[in-house]
Subunit: 216 residues, 2 copies
């Protein structure tokens, strides 16, 4: 597993916005006509058993997402070849200071702070590519202190993973170890300090998770 330590290898985290229609709508955003993305700093990765931090004054939302790891360098990758650039997957949270993001959006300012605090990209373990033969046929779920908050099928992604890789690599080359977060299903909401977030990913037709994580 050459990507077991992907959090120390990635040189960029590309995160896709509003890739599930229901999530775009729940925040009052338009459903995008083309994929769009933003960057998170790799310094925001956090792994178990460490904790997610809620910065003072921030209203921090959870967004459970499927992450993928790029296995080789590429630029202008056609969707038809995208699969060969995927080295594996992981379960992720795209933590977001929603109040700071709302303010940035109003002022036309970057999202980097709202998305970039330390511990704002909690991730699970490396998932072998063979464990996700069809990334369209899984459920992502998240619970706060045992109560379900997000539970959605990856088949609801408006822009599929090959299109995402094509789009991102048309702007910036993707390098071995880079990761892409593919967007979150609906159900996002605030996290309070002291709460525990538990998440998982499982095939649509199964009740067995292939990966889970739990973050205090």
């Amino acid at each position: 597993m050459p990507f077991r330590n992907f959090t120390s290898q990635a040189r960029k985290i590309v995160a896709i916005g509003r890739n599930y229609a229901e999530h775009a709508k729940e925040l009052g955003n338009e459903v995008p006509k083309a994929p769009f993305f933003f960057l998170k700093p790799t310094s925001s990765f956090v792994t178990e058993p460490n904790a997610i931090e809620v910065p003072k004054g921030a209203v921090v939302h959870h967004e459970v997402e499927l992450g993928l790891i790029i296995g080789k360098d590429g630029r202008d990758i056609p969707a038809t070849q995208a699969d060969s650039y995927i080295a594996g997957y992981f379960l992720a949270l795209d933590m977001t200071a929603r109040n700071l993001q709302d303010e940035a959006k109003k002022k036309g300012l970057p999202w980097s702070v709202a998305k970039g605090f330390d511990t704002f990209t909690p991730v699970g373990k490396f998932i072998e590519k063979s464990a996700i033969p069809n990334p369209d046929a899984f459920r992502l779920w998240l619970k706060i202190d045992g109560k379900s908050v997000q539970d959605g099928p990856t088949s609801d992604m408006m822009f599929k993973i090959p299109q995402l890789i094509e789009h991102v690599s048309s702007v910036m080359k993707l390098e071995k170890g880079d990761v892409i977060l593919t967007g979150t299903p609906s159900g996002v909401g605030p996290v309070q300090p002291g709460q525990t977030l538990t998440g998982g990913i499982r095939p649509l037709n199964s009740s067995n998770d292939i990966s889970t994580f739990s973050f205090p």
Copy 2:
């Protein structure tokens, strides 16, 4: 010179926006009351003798800037201790697809694409820290095909480098090798394919550059 290859070591590029009042005004922006920043992907670095690319449909502006390299990990670094975190400097261009940035600002979307294309962070060679004992007392200049377009003193920075390091590290930890671009003086404008950009940095009281670069 452990940072001679800083472009392959950096895990993040943090770029400060509107740090020179005249530049903020020339684009019709308010002069900010606190520093703000965005992230550029490290895949956007380009070094001599390679060329800057102008993506199709993009109006690409030059922004000549002083870059600094972080020499050790730090978080919540007080301005009074910031200097000890600086390992050296470099001359940089923060290339910007202005039309895409304007569109992103209007729509409240991230700046990542407008700032993140391949070759959008041209940089010169590593500058020893000892060559810039006072980063406040230098001039940054840029010419297009030999014609002066930007020429401004670093003393015009509204937020000084120690404050920038304090601010950025209050949001996200800075890691050894990370770089910060400190903002651009006025005079930004479009670059046409085929034009050559030549820039330099020199002490205020001297006509000898301590570093220069030239990019086709």
